[in-house]
């Protein structure tokens, strides 16, 4: 089964979004491993352990630039940059470019109704059919 690793970076306290996305992904046939609050180091370590096909990060604390920069760098150091990273939460529009530059594959914010994520997963499946991952 395709496995998704889902977590929150830093001390952000909101879990509703992550829980809703977890349920949604499970209904789409994914296995979801939710690891709760993690430091960037811990989340990369979890990725090493779980070998997921996708990593989801939920952040509503405003510290997404700092923590995602660190996380994406660590992921690269571990040569795991090919795992697509999806970020959900309160992400201001002006930060999206920077986050995409860091290598975040998909970003969606409250009210986007997961369409962005759905399209993204659709694309990923097609990629996967071509044997890329």
């Amino acid at each position: 089964m395709r496995k998704v690793l889902l977590g929150k970076l830093g001390l952000d306290a909101h879990w509703r979004g992550a829980a809703v996305v977890a349920k949604y992904l499970m209904e789409k046939g994914f296995e979801v491993v939710y690891v709760g609050n993690q430091t960037p180091e811990q989340l990369v370590e979890a990725a090493v352990q779980e070998d997921p096909c996708m990593i989801g990060v939920s952040m509503l604390s405003g510290s997404h630039i700092v923590l995602m920069s660190k996380f994406m760098q660590l992921l690269q150091d571990m040569e795991m940059k090919d795992i697509p990273v999806v970020l959900g939460g309160t992400i201001p529009k002006q930060d999206k470019v920077k986050l995409h530059e860091l290598g975040v594959a998909c970003i969606y914010t409250p009210g986007e109704s997961l369409d962005t994520l759905e399209d993204f997963i659709g694309d990923m499946f097609r990629l996967s059919a071509k044997g890329k991952r």
Binding site: G62, T90, P110
Partner: protein
Amino acid sequence: MSENHLFSSSSLCLLQMQQEALLKRKAKDRSFTSKSGIEIQPCYTPDDCKAFNHSQLGSPGSPPYTRGIYPLMYRTQPWTFRQLAGYGSAVDTNERYRFLIANGATGINGVFDYPTLRGYDSDNPVAEADLGQGGVAIDSIEDMHLLFKDIPINEVSVSLVVCNPVMAVPVFAMYLAMAEERGIPWDCLGGTNQNDFLMETAITTAPDILQPHFSFKLSTDIVEFCAGNVPRWHPISYTGYNYRESGVNAIQEVGMVIANAIATIEEMLRRGYSIDDFAPRLSVFFSADSDFFEEVAKYRAARRIWFKLLTERYGAIKKNSQTLRFHVQTSGASLTPQQPLNNITRSAYQALAAVLGGAQSIHVNGYDEALAIPTEEAAIVALRTQQIILHETNAAYTADPLGGSYFVETLTCELEKKIEEFVSEITAVGGMVAAVETGMIHDVITKAANEHFKRVRSGEQKVVGSNCFKHDDEPEIEIFRAPDILQKQKQKLSALRQSRDARVVDICLEKIRNACLEERNVMPAVLEAVKNRATLEEVCNVFRRYKGGWKLPL
């Protein structure tokens, strides 16, 4: 000609009838239910209110307080304009507090950053990225002095958003110790702590969570300490608002508040207090969501349930024990990052519902809060919204203006019944602490959040600007950025650690540990520790080492 006229008029009539039938069919196909699932009728008559009689309603200021807790309501007791504020360092937030007061805010509503809310000092690597985000960073009593510098805390009512008991204990202790060092007696202090164990164990998440029964014990320690020492303080404010934000509906919001209050009351009675020793200071924090009449009815039903509970079950005599006093925040989760100015309209209607429902204090959200914490401009628009309701709409001239409405009274009775049923479900699993430990509450939240999500996603629940009436190209709006305070906080902490007597701090922390082990009230030991400059994290670590490591049953 006349024939022709007759013909056209009858066909017109037929057409009208067909149209009406079509409309009725359409109306039948669509369900008209409140956000909590109560079916709403096209019209209400006296027949709908059979369950309702005048004794259930009473007058404003009289039992069962359905119509409000004061006889003249806002004529004599206008609600407090209590706008949430906090970011960056204590100095930054002190400036925002004074800015709000200068602009007509009548109370302080202090929110803390993520590390403070979970009891981590600013120099802990876990805390660094979240410093000063979403609230103010407080590491020690020195920060508390800076936070309230030049603010007359013996006059202004201060709400401390210390939601998690793990940090409510040390941060409230810092507040009390700060007042003492300023020479202000504790009986002059008016204000509120959130101090709700559900916040720590069910509503929010963190790396190292206290076991629910221990978090609950800490919250009750504050209630007990205030009963004897800080008589004008509300030691607890059950955070129905946050339950609601996490996904539950209006019925569950109030039901969880009531069940949680029952837990506190039972524990205080077990500790040997009588109900009127502490119940006058229990308070509540509700949400104001967008379902206008359901929200108004919710506040009215909650007051009636509280009165019945406190008098019939617990025999409370004092009026302040029998009356439910509550703060309201307009719904943050209802706001959209798309077309953010629409949020001003949403928040204004929500705040009006709170006023028509008889709230004691209100926070209106900034229109940009789905994106970040509010800019100064957004904070002022929110405050002005309250001032417009009070000074321009005249909605506050008369108490409970919707009282007697067939619809609102019926809805109030229906909500009351359903809330009491939900409280019984929690009682059936052994009360609120057990309901958290077994994961029942987490289940309720997750289910409700998923149902809401599906309704929004399918379009059944319309969200203007978000799932309908969308703009293709959303303009960027100015975003508030919290200042970088890491170096400043680190310097302050290192100066603190150098200047204090480390040996005394260790002894104090040991005393807290002993109070935990011997199941005594921890407040006296924590007060001594923070006066001797123990930091927030040092105190919280004592609690976490004793009974931490709990995992949310998700």
